[in-house]
Symmetry: D2
Subunit: 285 residues, 4 copies
């Protein structure tokens, strides 16, 4: 008999017995828990749990697990997501002219390091089409002007719906998405900001960093909300710099960690490790 691995994410208001109830049901199903993480936020009273378990693979096994767990989910008003660990979330990558983040995602994906299914790449510029085509990912040129912003976002939206996209990844996509768009895909858009938020929000963070004379720069991957650069932070990284670095050099140094941090955030999300807890995230390692 072969085994199948599932990942169960759940969240609800914290109360006694949830872990016991859920793990007991899994035991009844003869599931073996491989890994389990939980966190109870003392500020919000919210409980978060991620369980990885193995179970005998039968026809309809996923439906059976859901059937077994559903009463508990209902009783405790639990929000849950059960995923076959081999299922790859579908993503759309949006980019502009800079290739470093896109290229790192595609290269990591190609070598098997990212559990995602890249359905399409979109850009307001045609420049990176050759990168997309080399990696054999469909490329969509989605030009935008102040007057066509609404229509362009509708194009993106159509792409998302047609391709059943789970997550939109902004790999240095230089456009600000409309509040309406952000709202529709709340918790499903991942952006890389080229600073250590909350420092240096907005445009030209490397210039801002240079002007302030900081000795460390950073990059931040976060979920996009309609409040620019204020969405829940998923991952951050920093790197040491000095007075001798020009804005241009900060930009080059920063590019490396932008690419790393975005890929790390995408990896964590695609492995079902990330929960949104109001304006923060819970990320299980």
């Amino acid at each position: 008999m072969t085994k199948k691995k599932f990942i169960l994410k759940l969240t609800c208001l914290d109360k006694a017995g949830i872990v016991a109830h859920v793990t007991t049901e899994l035991f009844h199903l003869e599931g073996i828990i491989i890994n389990s993480d939980q966190f109870s936020d003392p500020d919000t009273g919210q409980f978060f749990m991620r369980i990885v378990f193995e179970i005998e693979d039968t026809v309809n096994i996923q439906k059976e697990i859901e059937k077994q767990l559903l009463p508990i989910f209902k009783t405790h008003e639990i929000t849950w997501q059960l995923s076959d660990s081999e299922h790859k979330p579908s993503v759309l990558i949006l980019c502009s002219k800079q290739e470093h983040c896109l290229n790192h995602l595609l290269s990591k994906h190609r070598s098997g390091g990212l559990n995602i299914d890249i359905k399409a790449i979109g850009s307001n510029h045609p420049l990176l089409e050759e990168v997309a085509s080399w990696y054999k990912i469909p490329f969509h040129h989605l030009p935008i002007t102040p007057n066509t912003k609404k229509q362009q976002e509708l194009q993106i939206q159509k792409l998302v719906e047609d391709q059943k996209i789970d997550y939109i990844i902004l790999a240095r996509y230089m456009q600000i998405l409309s509040p309406e768009f952000c709202d529709i895909y709340k918790g499903r858009i991942i952006n890389i900001h080229h600073s250590f938020l909350p420092g240096f929000k907005g445009a030209n963070p490397y210039r801002q960093a240079h002007e302030r004379g900081v000795k460390i720069i950073g990059a931040t991957a976060h979920f996009v909300t309609d409040d620019l650069d204020e969405g829940p932070i998923i991952a951050q990284e920093t790197i040491r710099v000095g007075h001798e670095h020009s804005v241009n050099e900060l930009t080059r140094y920063g590019a490396d960690i932008e690419a790393l941090v975005l890929a790390r955030a995408v990896k964590q999300v695609s492995e079902y490790r990330v929960f949104i807890d109001k304006n923060k995230t819970v990320v299980f390692k």
Copy 2:
């Protein structure tokens, strides 16, 4: 009714149902799980779990919990430790002439940052007695010569037994403990080695690092075994250096991270976060 917080550490050969059984018993006791971590080592087949839970505080509550859980512990041949989260492990710190690690531990302890009860400080040199006395910790001068090594270790042993010491912390204690001593206190002696192990074992690691021309140096806290510098690693840290740094400067830079890493390891052990898994550790954050 007041609540009491307990920490349960357990380890056994991995099999289905352990999490369910344990958490169900805790539910029957009306315990509320605050945090829980687990790890199953695919190489050794060993399962490790740490659960933090709150429970109504009654007379003999700890004994009641143990009584309730004992059948499960027996059935699954579980090695366990149940600790009141406010209980502070007793420690003996051994040092020699250098004060940076000792001072950092004492200072962190004084400001409430370490969950330990420092029963005594021992040293083969009288130099740091004044540090101990200022922090109001009993100091034991334990001189040692090649001929008196055995007797000196018996003195330490007596101290450990008399004071019911849980952990012996080597804060740059420059003596090599005998294999017999290491054996008696296996898993209970924490050492700081002033290199990024396994690089630069043995004497003068900063000199070795300087001669090799490394661009990063490190420090390693580990449990002591009779195999020098080969015991299970608890924590490590690194710091960037350059060609311009002399051995003396490496020593000064390294001192900072030695002190940090040792304190971090002691903190983790004292919060019941560390398990020994053959020649490695499992450390729950």
Copy 3:
């Protein structure tokens, strides 16, 4: 004949020949350059140089060097500082109730790791007097109320003048100095701010960091100006944190890097490595 080591710091508007002129004069004095760093800021046009050189030790050697170099300094309108490398800048440390930064400075100083002469410790609270007295540094209790702020700062000023203090170090001194005081000691007051500036200025940065849900926290040492937390940054450090850390835990983790960063900044300043370049610093490693 014994040798003496000097450090020459100089800054002026950049132009051709400065390095050649200065090093040629040193050559005529038979000085041997051990180390030399320079930086020309393309934004401000300002040139910065630090030269370490050895020279035969004779009576009045420092005056002779100055005499030899003075014409060049005048010609190029150079601001300069020539220091015997063994000369220790005098410092006054101001603190409040928290001891971690003070203790780390004093411990590092005691073990020879800081090239400073700690003339006095001042505090608005008597709590840390015992720390000062153990390290045998004169302690000054300088209580402050909203009504006595001016007088208290005059007391500090008197201390600075009487003791010929070069630098005032704020080791978690929780008072905001008046603009007048900041002005008098411009470029001579070093503060540690417990965040990665420019993020989380002002009060309670760890609470702010917790509320924002950052994945990394930091500490910043900077010169104090009358613009709060906006002075030239000398050194910064960051440390990784997660959703599981409470404000209290962030505070404890942060304490370690606050102490490290402040000591690093003090070390750099005391070794004549730091220049102020408008609102930034030039720090030679």
Copy 4:
């Protein structure tokens, strides 16, 4: 009149006056020093200097500078290299089946982040030809068997001579070069080793790291000598890991820093910042 920027590297036994003599000659040439670094190794008595200067661009300017400086170089027995800052060293990249290091180098190069001229890519496997061809770099398939090792190295040697290659970069090239080959190109072959040297030399360092249970892994870029993994270290980087990471996961995490560190070393070498000082390097930032 346009300006041209040059970089002068020089090294010799340390003695008084070298900085003065060289900078005075540059002053006579009306060169403006933009940046200058120097280091005197107290262990070897060797002096190293790197000067970046701007000078009026005329026909044969480089020859004129050399003519002016040559007498000083001869007097002080100085080994020197004068380079137009826009001159890109020629490199040959050798790789095998893994693409992460190669791809990062090519992508960084494409976006202008590396001052090199990639003349050719060679590999003992045909797999990465498509990567090379996409980046439009000539690819040479250089198969190797134990019996053809000598011939294959002659093929590489021919490539190096024909293409006037300055540096050979081993981007996870899995072959051990013969001592003869290492000798011919001493100081001109840069390798990335996937561990924090001197820890875990030789094969399978991630497996070794996993077995030892380290809490940090690393990567090391170094010059190749005939003593395996013992050549002068150029750059290193580390990353935090835990008990939960399998060998496979360590390999993926490590891949990111391997790529970063190799690119950083190549950047430093190509900007004429790296000197070899016996078995170490001097790297000017």
